[in-house]
Symmetry: C2
Subunit: 345 residues, 2 copies
């Protein structure tokens, strides 16, 4: 509309095949590059009509800001990094989390980058990598420990992150956690209601925070409902399924064998079922079992096993929301959520 002919710097006509940039739009609208940039971010010093015109042209030519340009200039990567242990056992659990995270990120500018590490290496390595290279604006980690050095490091550097699981360091940070204490407590109750008294728990590795949560709920359940614990300390959820199966069979054949079993994960439950049956026992008849479950397989093939569902997809959603909110400056204390076991069917 208002052509005020100061002759514009001799802009070369942008070649029509290339990706449009701010320059393209500036050329098409007759505005300056800065104006276009500010118009697109709805800055207050740009006229309403101009903004409209710029937005229209931008949409028309399919403008997407160049991520490298933004990132170089502002330091903002628009990336959330999910730090994943590559051991097969965990990836099965974390994959629904990827779905949840993606669901949230889809509505934003953020991309999801998978930053892997192997159990044989230091879990701090991937975190340090992201921090040192500025590879992401925020990070999501799992397998959280009570005194987690990754959390300490990111807090110290004032870096946005969320943890799947809680810590116990007196540091306030975003997390999402499943109430494993309640899970174990409810599990004991369910077993006792079915007349079971001698209960065995397949617990997470002691290094992880939720080990203590689960044990606490377990012990409390034993006390409140009047059952006793059958020790099962030779294996935990980080052992291979083969080891768990063998250990379970041994426990089932030993004197004072359990008549109730609790599995802290769905994968472990499969091994426990196999171990129980290896020992010639039958579910529901000789032994009852409660498992934490994330997929349907177990339930379909051994409906006798009672399952309490943990929703990893929800965890992904909550964590993605929390990390983004943290990046945007929301206080960490407001970004802590807990989810509860849901009886399956």
């Amino acid at each position: 509309m208002n052509e005020k002919h100061k002759n514009r710097p001799a802009t070369i006509l942008p070649s029509p095949n290339e990706r449009p940039t701010l320059k393209t739009i500036a050329f098409m609208t007759g505005l300056g590059i800065t104006t276009v940039s500010r118009a697109l971010k709805d800055a207050p010093d740009i006229g309403a009509e101009t903004k409209e015109r710029v937005r229209l042209v931008a949409a028309q030519v399919g403008y997407h800001p160049n991520r490298a340009g933004v990132r170089l200039r502002t330091g903002k990567t628009n990336v959330i990094s999910l730090i994943l242990s590559l051991e097969e056992e965990f990836i099965g659990l974390t994959s629904p989390m990827v779905v949840g995270i993606s669901e949230i990120l889809a509505a934003t500018q953020y991309h999801l980058v998978i930053t892997p590490y192997s159990a044989r290496s230091d879990p701090l390595d991937p975190v340090r990598y992201v921090l040192d290279t500025g590879a992401a604006d925020g990070v999501i980690i799992s397998r959280t420990e009570p005194k987690d050095p990754r959390v300490a490091l990111m807090m110290q550097r004032n870096f946005a992150f969320g943890t799947h699981g809680r810590t116990e360091m007196g540091l306030v940070h975003p997390y999402h956690d499943f109430d494993n204490e309640r899970f174990a407590y409810d599990a004991v109750r369910m077993l006792v209601e079915r007349g079971r008294r001698r209960i065995m728990l397949l617990h997470p590795p002691p290094s992880l925070t939720y080990h203590m949560h689960m044990r606490t709920g377990f012990e409390r359940g034993l006390r409140d409902f009047g059952a006793i614990s059958v020790p099962f300390n030779t294996v935990d959820l980080d052992n291979t399924l083969v080891d768990i199966r063998a250990a379970c069979e041994a426990a089932m054949r030993a004197p004072g064998a359990p008549d109730g079993v609790i599995s802290g994960s769905g994968g472990g439950a499969v091994a426990l079922v196999a171990g129980i049956e290896d020992a010639g026992l039958k579910l529901a008849r000789d032994v009852d079992m409660v498992s934490k479950q994330s997929n349907d397989f177990l339930q379909w093939l051994r409906p006798e096993v009672m399952t309490l569902r943990e929703d990893f997809r929800l965890a992904g959603r909550e964590l993605a929301k929390a990390v983004i909110a943290r990046i945007e400056g929301q206080p960490a204390a407001e970004l802590q959520t807990l989810s509860f076991p849901v009886l399956q069917d």
Copy 2:
């Protein structure tokens, strides 16, 4: 501004807390930025001793090239995008692929970005997004169709990609595929060897390329080993497990019910087992079953089911290698691999 001094431009000492850049190293070594850049890429016009010195200092200060800088200047993103359908059913399968891909990328500069789409939207969308925004140097896709428009588009744009599964358009591109024809053929053989004659196949959706592969192997097996097909066309592997289970039960109760069942995926097999048992039949006694399997669950809970393993982790590794090789200019014809069913245990 055009100051032509002999002495170096008045470089400000890089603040010690910031990430080191080429400038930092240039300052420390007393060299020019260009020289440092070229030394680090082992360019032929830099002295051997200089290169050594630069490399030493770079390692010392923990230099990582700024990805945004490289990307902006060269257009190289150093990103591989895995395009994932977010439906829970598929994510379970594709997650071991993430592990395989990560294993390969870990030794390179590449990052893995998950680009999701939902089944309700156009599968072309994520591909177009990557192409239009230059979000990655290469792409990996699954659920490949015989005339796959994503493949056509990326070929036309001369963009590096690899497909999990083959196409049939006369276009030569990198792929990794599982030999589903052989799987079905072997499966029929295994069933016939156990005296089964009336065989039912749970096949993939007809739109996917491997549907035809599997059917071909199936039909060939029926002919070669003298068995007959029991139609099972009301459901395929894209249906929910609940639907598959119900359809299977119905088939098992119908006149002329099958005595052998083949499942084109591990997840489907669980539903089939449940359906068979719903109909009051017993595995190994009334019906035998062969399944494609990717995890151990089924095998542990129904060892009667014979399983042929498909290695998704290997697929991830092969595809990552292929895409990188393609980016580096290797001919697509050399980047096509096939893997074969392995009898489980």
